[in-house]
Subunit: 250 residues, 2 copies
């Protein structure tokens, strides 16, 4: 069994971040191809039938879907386990992960990050302010009310850090990229959990690479990441963005 | 630990079907509230934050998301296990399940079943023929090419029946509802796997309830299902459809 994994996926994706945080917490070695979002050649299509990131390459094996990858890594490297020991808690952790992947994916990524960041800076299109307003002012508060109802008074959701905390913190990183901060008066437990989770060294280490990725034109990202010590692979499955934008998000 | 489970969700949903087949294969007892699709009162919203079906009620515990529910039931009742023993195979089974849940959900459910069945017969709207044509003639053939590449020459995908076979067979049941049959000349392994999986008694038993559900107006469904011996609960979280249609699908 190898622990030299390869990840295809950019640091700015919350789905990639989930997997990388899991790998960091498990001290797994990996290389990464920080393929530009919405880019990817024919080989990428072969590896990722839905053209999604991340993809995990483990020797001959190709694993798709961030949730599947996290579970796979946890089964191969069970310490520390990122899934609660209790079967019911484990189901709830997986549900919260799914809630993030699907609903925060819609609201935070497509409704906010894509509109304010990707659309303008990669595709040169104007954001749809009505979509942003609906996501930020209507949908996200409802989601935060729900998450707040699930949050612990202290510590992590299920005692030890789990895939649920990691998922929630990963998605709200992308909200932070577009200057959205969770109101700690209104959702105090959620805001505190985010702070606790982001304070983990794994999130801190990735945070620098994310921030710099957002501020570096795509053709220069690999060089920049390498200079920061990121384990960037020599080969890539896609670098050319539709437009050489720098995401100066505000 | 109780094995008296309760399921909220209609027999015509492929996500509900996945869970029910798992329960049948594990000989678990359950009651069901065959809540009408796209219906559900306030209590349903509390139990299902994204207003999706199925929901599993296990005593005090509420479990959302069909994939989470199947995994939960498998961990509580591991025989027969519906997840392959090998960690890599297990990841692949989960990926194929996710492929069905997300992509066949888009193509088969939203692109075909919703258009040809639900839209017309529940909402009284005309199907969008362009959406149907794209799903049936462009997207589904690509999906079938991919699935065919994963299929075994005989038996099930990972030897014993698993959540992957169940997922694929569940989604293609809904394609069959709108008279779509997988071309056995073009995709022989997939067509054969579907036949093998549908031949399981669990699928057969549910099949009768599905067919009759499609042919019975929603207000009469509970009575009809009870007469057929289905374990329909006394209480319901939603029965009133927008329109009292019978889905005579063609």
């Amino acid at each position: 069994m190898t622990t030299d994994y390869h990840i295809i996926g950019n640091y700015i994706s919350p789905y990639v971040r989930k997997v990388l945080v899991c790998m960091e917490l498990k001290s797994l070695h990996y290389t990464i191809d920080p393929i530009a979002p919405f880019v990817g050649n024919e080989r990428f299509s072969e590896l990722s039938p839905l053209r999604r990131i991340p993809v995990l390459i483990d020797g001959e094996r190709v694993i798709n879907d961030s949730s599947v990858i996290c579970q796979y890594l946890d089964e191969l490297h069970p310490r520390p386990s990122l899934y609660p020991a209790d079967i019911g808690d484990r189901a709830q952790a997986r549900w919260l992960e799914e809630y993030c992947d699907s609903w925060l994916g819609d609201v935070v990524i497509w409704g906010m990050f894509y509109q304010k960041g990707v659309k303008r800076y990669l595709f040169g299109e104007e954001p749809d302010e009505a979509v942003i307003a609906r996501a930020r002012d209507e949908q996200l508060p409802v989601a935060l009310d729900y998450l707040e109802s699930q949050m612990p008074a202290e510590g992590f959701l299920f005692g030890e850090i789990s895939v649920a905390d990691i998922s929630i913190a990963s998605f709200f990183r992308n909200a932070a990229f577009v200057r959205y901060a969770v109101d700690a008066q209104r959702w105090p437990r959620t805001a505190a959990l985010l702070e606790r989770t982001w304070a983990l060294p794994a999130f801190g280490k990735l945070g620098e690479l994310e921030e710099r990725s957002l501020r570096t034109p795509l053709p220069e990202q690999r060089k920049m990441l390498r200079e920061l010590g990121a384990p960037v692979s020599a080969e890539t499955l896609g670098t050319s963005p539709p437009r050489r934008g720098v995401m100066r998000l505000e």
